[in-house]
Symmetry: C2
Subunit: 190 residues, 2 copies
DNA sequence: TGAATTTCTTGAAGCAGTTCAAGTTTTTTA
DNA sequence: TAAAAAACTTGAACTGCTTCAAGAAATTCA
C-alpha cells in the first residue's frame, strides 16, 4: 500500500521490519480529485504531501490575476511549503492537484512522532531536501541563462513525457513565459 | 572558536557536552581572502561551507561571459552545491568569497563520520536545508511577480545592511537584471 | 601616494517577450 | 451527445529591460 514511499525511503536509508510496521501504522493514503487544493494562500501549512500517483503543483496568483506555477510534483516527490511549515506563518502559495492523485499526507505532529521512533528518517528527509534544493539552484541557473525557447526545449528534452501531462499554460508559467508565447514557440513562429 | 556554528545548531537541536567535544575535535576554521574560490565549475563539490564571518557567493558565467550570482551566504549560512555533493557530478557553479572570510569547511567524509557519532545532527541539517528550500521558493516567487525595480526595493527593505556589503553589479545579477539597469534604478531614471 | 584596477554611470538603439482581443479547438460534464 | 468550460492560437501594438560604448568615480595595492 505504501510501497512507493517505502521504496523511496530505502533508496537512502535501510529500514528493518519493525520500522516499516511503525511507519505503515502511521501513514494514510488519500485519493484526491483533479484540481482540488491541498493548501491555499493564507493558510498555515502543517502537512507534507508525498505523491504516489498523479501530479500536483505549487502556484501563486500574480498581481495581474494570472496563475504562475512555481513547482510541479509527480510520483515519488514531496511537495509542501517548508517556510510556512517551519515558521508557522501563512503560506504565500497554493498547492493543487493537476491530475487525480493518490497522496500520502503527513502532518507535522504525525511526522514528529514518527521521527522520535525512527530517528534515522531524519537522514532520509535531509538528503531528499538537500537534493531538491540543489535541483532548484539548477532551475534558477536555467531561468537566468536561457531564452524562453531554450528553456522550453531543454525541459522537453529532459522530461519528454511530462510535457504531455500538464496544460501548456501551466508549463509556460513554470518556465516563466506567457501561454501565448508558448503557442508561438511550439508553432515555430519565434 | 566554533561558537557561531554551535549556537546555530543549538537553535534547532540540543547538544550535550560530549557531543560538543566530538564536534569541536572534527571541525576546523579557515581564513579565506576576498575573491578566492571554494569551488569552480567542473569540480566535484565534496564540501559544505559554513560562514562564520564574511560573505561568499555562488555564481555562474553566462553565455555572454558575464558573471551571474545565484546565491549569497553571510554569517551563519551554509553554502555548497548539493547536487554535485550528493551525485558526485561536476558542479555547474563557482563558489567564491566576496569578503575576507572565516569559514568552517566540512568535507563529506568528515561529516559522515560526525553524523555516525551524533545522529541527531541529521535533524539539524534537515531543518536547515528545508528552510533554505522554502526561502528559495519565495525567491522564485519574487523573480516571477515583481519588476526589476520592485525586486531591488524589496531586497533593500529586507536586507538594508547587506546592500552596502557587495558590489552593485553582483546584487543586480542576483536580482536578475543588468548592472547598468541597477544604476538607473538607483538614480531614479526608470 | 600614484598607478592600476575595479566599479559605477549615462544615453542611444534594439529586441525578447508581454498584453490584449478575438477566434478556434479540445476536453469535460450533465 | 450537446452544451459548457477549458485550453490553445494568432497577429498587432507595445514595453521593460538589455546591449553597447565610453567615460567617471571609487577602491586597491605596490
Amino acid at each position: 500500500m505504501f510501497t512507493s514511499l517505502l521504496d523511496h525511503i530505502q533508496k537512502f536509508i535501510t529500514l528493518d521490519f519493525e520500522e516499516i510496521d511503525i511507519l505503515e501504522s502511521k501513514l494514510s493514503l488519500s485519493k484526491i480529485k483533479k484540481k482540488e487544493h491541498l493548501l491555499k494562500e493564507g493558510q498555515v501549512c502543517n502537512t507534507m504531501y508525498f505523491i504516489t500517483n498523479g501530479c500536483a503543483r505549487q502556484y501563486i496568483i500574480n498581481p495581474r490575476g494570472t496563475e504562475q506555477t512555481l513547482q510541479f510534483a509527480i510520483e515519488n516527490w514531496w511537495i509542501t511549503d517548508y517556510l510556512s511549515y517551519h515558521n508557522n506563518t501563512p503560506s504565500h502559495f497554493y498547492i493543487q492537484t493537476v491530475e487525480n492523485c493518490e497522496i500520502i499526507a503527513l502532518e507535522k505532529n504525525t511526522l514528529e512522532s514518527i521521527l522520535i521512533q525512527i530517528p534515522k528518517l531524519e537522514r532520509y528527509f535531509r538528503i531528499v531536501s538537500q537534493k531538491s534544493f540543489g535541483a532548484t539552484q539548477m532551475r534558477i541557473k536555467f531561468l537566468f541563462t536561457m531564452s524562453a525557447e531554450e528553456r522550453y526545449n531543454h525541459f522537453k528534452n529532459q522530461q519528454p513525457d511530462f510535457v504531455q501531462r500538464v496544460p501548456q499554460y501551466m508549463l509556460a508559467s513554470y518556465l516563466d513565459f506567457s501561454a501565448e508565447f508558448m503557442s508561438k514557440i511550439r508553432a515555430g513562429k519565434v
